[in-house]
């Protein structure tokens, strides 16, 4: 079966809730809520598949097999469903699974869901759970955490380029201030005084240099272009490119700590699939679970030179506020990036092409999508 242009995946509906500490609701309810919202937005097509992006439900909610759990609770009994896990890139992985499914012709209507319920347990248990995405035998068993990984990258970066931690201030304040206009964000603005008074959590990174881990869910309905036409959808958003690339999981196994191979390969592969170059991209949403991750993504993705990833990028980046400003519901964050970008592209003044990238596990797994209106 040859794949043609009319098989191209498109997004025809979205559902999203603000990122927050959602103590009053469960993993299941958060997920099904946005699934139903996305279906309603897409005028309730008949669903064939639900792909669930989630990183920590197995541990923090003691719950596996989320596909069966959430589809039943969303009124979708009998569909195809399973979980996609790739740490912070889980949501983007679910989106890619949905695109592959519809473009192949094996599925007509797919839902991609990102859902995370992080605030179910006390701090030290949550820290342990967060470290689940590290190499257990050689990193987390040594007492390594997500924040410490980011700090090790930042420390090496500052030493390598002979810079001070002051370079992070502008990047973080920009993220928080971008989030001021995002109704899904936990945080709405940051001033220099507050930033400078932050406690240092893992030298050289402070409290605001790493995104707050929180709860959230976002979903999108994905079909082929031809299906969207048959359903009478006026202005779908096109998924022009999609790519996933990995690097060694452990920081200590990378040949070059400061060059993110997965980000570089995933960016180039997604652009290649879309027949576009970086020059054709109007704006980007890049991964910033910590400030250094955004700096390295900007450099490895080709937007800024090595050693200059903290400077002002040549195109708009993370107008949503990113994970830093929005808060980081890890396995759902990739879907927040995508759903917010789809919604922004509905407004044609927002530009034509957007590059959206989520990264799981401190540079280990990078999943990139190119969206166009």
């Amino acid at each position: 079966m040859a794949i043609t242009a009319s098989d191209e995946p498109v997004v025809i509906g979205t559902g999203i809730v603000p990122v927050r500490e959602a103590w009053e609701t469960s993993l299941r309810d958060l997920g099904s809520h946005v699934v139903r919202a996305a279906l309603k937005d897409a005028s309730n097509p008949k669903v064939d598949a639900l792909y669930v992006g989630n990183a920590y439900g197995n541990v923090l909610s003691h719950q596996a097999n989320l596909g069966a759990l959430i589809s039943e609770h969303s009124g979708l009994c009998g569909v195809e469903s399973h979980t996609v896990e790739a740490a912070g890139a889980s949501g983007a992985g679910a989106f890619r699974a949905a695109c592959i499914a519809v473009q192949s012709g094996w599925v007509d209507v797919a839902i991609a869901l990102g859902v995370e319920k992080f605030t179910e347990v006390p701090g030290s248990e949550a820290e342990s759970a967060a470290a689940l995405t590290l190499n257990y035998e050689y990193e987390s068993s040594q007492g390594m955490t997500l924040q410490a990984q980011a700090a090790l990258l930042a420390q090496r970066y500052l030493a390598h380029w002979n810079l001070s931690r002051d370079i992070f201030e502008g990047v973080v304040i920009a993220a928080y201030n971008h989030a001021a206009d995002n109704p899904n964000a936990m945080f709405h603005g940051m001033d220099e005084k507050r930033y400078r008074n932050q406690p240092i959590i893992a030298d050289p990174l402070g409290l605001y240099d790493t995104a707050f881990l929180a709860d959230g869910a976002a979903a999108a309905v994905i079909v082929r272009k031809s299906t969207a036409q048959a359903l009478g959808v006026a202005s779908p958003i096109f998924v022009r490119g999609s790519a996933n690339a990995v690097a060694p999981l452990s920081l200590h196994d990378r040949h070059d700590l400061l060059s993110w191979d997965a980000v570089r390969k995933s960016t180039l592969a997604a652009l290649h699939k879309a027949h576009l170059s970086l020059a054709d991209i109007d704006w980007l949403e890049l991964w910033d679970a910590s400030v250094i991750e955004l700096v390295l993504s900007l450099e490895s993705g080709g937007l800024l030179e090595a050693g200059k990833g903290w400077q002002s990028p040549p195109k708009p980046v993370n107008q949503s506020g990113g994970c830093l400003g929005r808060g980081n519901p890890v396995g759902a964050s990739g879907m927040y990036q995508l759903v917010e970008s789809v919604n922004r592209l509905q407004n044609e003044d927002a530009g034509r092409n957007a590059l959206i990238q989520a990264v799981g596990g401190c540079g280990a797994t990078a999943i990139t999508h190119i969206l166009s209106n």
């Binding site: 030290s124 470290a131 987390s140 007492g143 955490t145 090790l152 090496r156 893992a202 452990s250």
Partner: protein, 132 residues
């Protein structure tokens, strides 16, 4: 806690036993089936000296479960003199400021316990400043 799993890692944890690639002679730690340098099969046992230098470091106050008794602690990427980098805590540093490039050597220390679950204690490598 998973007894067989930690038992299985004892040669690495207690003695930094890794591999030398029989094809390209790269030194490999942790050991694995495929040499990360040349992509061929790696199996030859190699004992690392335990000498190295700090490649990057940080200090943690928010420790994960099982590690709170040690907090705050310094954790580092240590570049072994044979080439590979390992993740490990720094220990016995007193008031000495940690610096990138600081010479360190492997010692065996308690890594964590299992709370009061079964009384299991995990020992393994940490690195301390080289005693001159």
């Amino acid at each position: 806690m998973e007894t067989p799993r930690h038992w299985r890692l004892k040669k690495q944890r207690y003695a930094l036993v890794g591999e030398e690639c029989p094809h390209c002679k790269a030194k490999i730690f942790p050991p694995r089936d495929v040499c990360p340098e040349c992509g061929l099969e790696a199996k030859t046992v190699y004992h690392f000296s335990g000498k190295g230098e700090v490649y990057s470091y940080t200090s943690l106050t928010d420790a994960p479960a099982g590690f709170q008794a040690s907090a705050p602690y310094a954790i580092a990427l240590v570049k072994l003199e044979e080439g590979p980098i390992v993740t490990a805590q720094l220990t016995d540093i007193g008031n000495e400021p940690v610096k990138i490039g600081m010479p360190v050597e492997m010692v065996t220390r308690k890594l964590r316990d299992d709370g009061d679950e079964r009384g299991m204690i995990i020992y393994g490598y940490k690195f301390r400043p080289v005693l001159s």
